[in-house]
Subunit: 340 residues, 2 copies
């Protein structure tokens, strides 16, 4: 039986093995992705991003617990967690981290947790995450939480994969730290102020609402504060025709599990919004196009490399280092033959 067939049958060992193939980008892994691809497209991908110190990992664990034990007679959904931590080059922490995480949710076949302590390139990290998401999607996990550190472009790229992006903040991390995340706020669908039992929670909320107003001026002014002051009537028209999502700001204390049910309900509402507005399909399409572009680029480069002679490449590099030709002239020499 192939790994892909094992994954479709619900074999957890096959699933873990295939994810390792994906992480190492093996030929077997690629073949399995091809087999599994027709079974993908059902999972709701939720990106969870935030700086170290926001309690993001506890929040993800508690959220997984809420999804498995929802209130109000809702059915539990199957949930997978991918924890991406590109900022930790020294630790073998991924495996230890998994053990600590697993203890909490161990023995529940509806939960799967996987850490990645990748040192790979950025494109590589996003591509690996995308492959893992496809495998977990095909394996029947309905919610896939992708946890990232939220400090750079890598996280923004991974968040772009998601249908719904949660940005986690905590009181007392300082204005300077928040400034760095302005770019990430642009892609936030739900904002969570974790550690909300700490002093300064009001300040953090206020800072977030101010930044939201910069990021989504019309929607936020209109919906959130319920005032029309800064909204012209012309700008209001499209609001009436199409639903606009206003990122809610929610308080949680993940270590005590408080506020988690509200976060889970916000995620469900965001999915309903995406489906009603047609954005779900748009995000699917743009996600697949992005992935295709990355694969095309990698394939074009590796095919070209296999065809050029090492001698020719070294000869051009030597001329470049001696500054006899410029980098652009070197590209032309390599792609169009010797013209220098």
């Amino acid at each position: 039986m192939t790994l892909a067939a094992g994954v479709l049958e619900g074999n957890r060992l096959a699933l873990a093995r295939l994810l390792t193939h994906i992480e190492n980008d093996t030929a077997d892994g690629r073949a399995a992705l091809g087999e599994l691809f027709p079974y993908t497209g059902r999972a709701h991908l939720v990106g969870v991003t935030g700086a170290p110190g926001t309690g993001k990992s506890s929040l993800v664990n508690q959220l997984a617990r809420s999804i498995r034990n929802p209130g109000g007679g809702q059915a539990p959904q199957r949930v997978a967690v991918i924890a991406v931590d590109p900022s930790s080059p020294f630790t073998g922490g991924a495996i230890l981290g998994d053990r600590v995480r697993m203890r909490d949710l161990a023995g529940d076949a509806g939960v799967f947790i996987r850490s990645m302590a990748s040192r790979g390139s950025l494109g590589g990290l996003a591509a690996t995450t995308s492959g893992m998401v496809q495998v977990l999607d095909a394996a029947g996990f309905e919610i896939i939480l992708v946890e990232t550190v939220g400090a750079g472009q890598a996280e923004v790229d991974i968040a772009r994969l998601a249908h719904t992006t949660l940005v986690v903040e905590a009181p007392g991390l300082g204005d300077e730290i928040q400034a760095i995340k302005a770019g990430i706020l642009e892609i936030a669908d739900i904002l969570v102020v974790n550690k909300a039992d700490r002093p300064g929670v009001e300040n953090t909320e206020r800072a977030l609402r101010n930044m939201l107003q910069l990021a989504h001026p019309v929607q936020h002014t209109f919906r959130h504060h319920g005032t029309l002051e800064s909204v012209s009537s012309a700008m209001l028209e499209p609001v009436k025709e199409q639903p606009i999502w206003v990122p809610p700001v929610l308080r949680t204390v993940a270590t005590e599990g408080s506020g988690m049910e509200q976060v889970w309900q916000a995620i469900i509402q965001h999915r309903q919004h995406l489906e009603a507005s047609g954005e779900w399909q748009q995000r699917e399409r743009s996600r697949l196009e992005t992935e295709l572009d990355g694969l095309l680029q990698a394939t074009l480069v590796s095919r070209w490399r296999n065809q050029i002679s090492a001698q020719e490449y070294q000869r051009v590099i030597a001329r470049l280092v001696d500054r006899l030709i410029s980098p652009w002239q070197a590209v032309q020499a390599l792609l169009d033959g010797d013209q220098t």
Copy 2:
């Protein structure tokens, strides 16, 4: 007269205009880079990276001032600053920032400062920075300071361009924040604890030395603590034969200008080390190879895009979205023709 010729003559307006061409990746900009490339390779590139709140920008300004007014009868060198701030999508802060910065050093023809508030892709950011560095190098600036925010892979990529990398810390930013920078410490040549008049400076220094020991175990144990405890005699041999650089940890209070002369002398010593050890040539070569690879990749993709029909591309995307073919199969269909 071409922009490139103007730059070589020392025309500052031509320089500013050409940098704008580089930032927008125009055909004129590329042509000028080709003209200027033979005049490059002399400047010492110094990357300065650190989290928001470390006072990195003040440090860069004061460092520029020290380079222009060196102690001990040294000749002043011409210095250019490129400030890269990819984390600030909302501000038009680059231009305002330049004005504030310029005021301090205005009227000194040996100083040139340029900010980039780029939203471009990561490859784009590193490529743009590299092009700007080449222009400033050809324009005769002997020291080029490249200031980055230090929060992600983008900064690591830009730091890899540099001959010398300064990492700036400050007391009181918290252990969690420091953890995120472990990856950046690996590439640090000089560590600066700025705001050294604040409480906690000893803790910050201790944390840095501990992290350095993880990143450079042998060198640091041997050189810095002057103890041989954890160094086997076999490991010591290469130390005797080839000079090893041990990143110094320096204290500064940039707002008062204190400690700046020591930082400048450490930069000079690092250059001497690079030249004596042959690393200068190695870094030059690997920098040019990295740049060539990026340009090759971009060119291969854009040539391929110009040759494929939009119809064919859309047809394959549609089959992908309908999950009739996988992303890898889509790549094969696009590159090798219709086989599906």
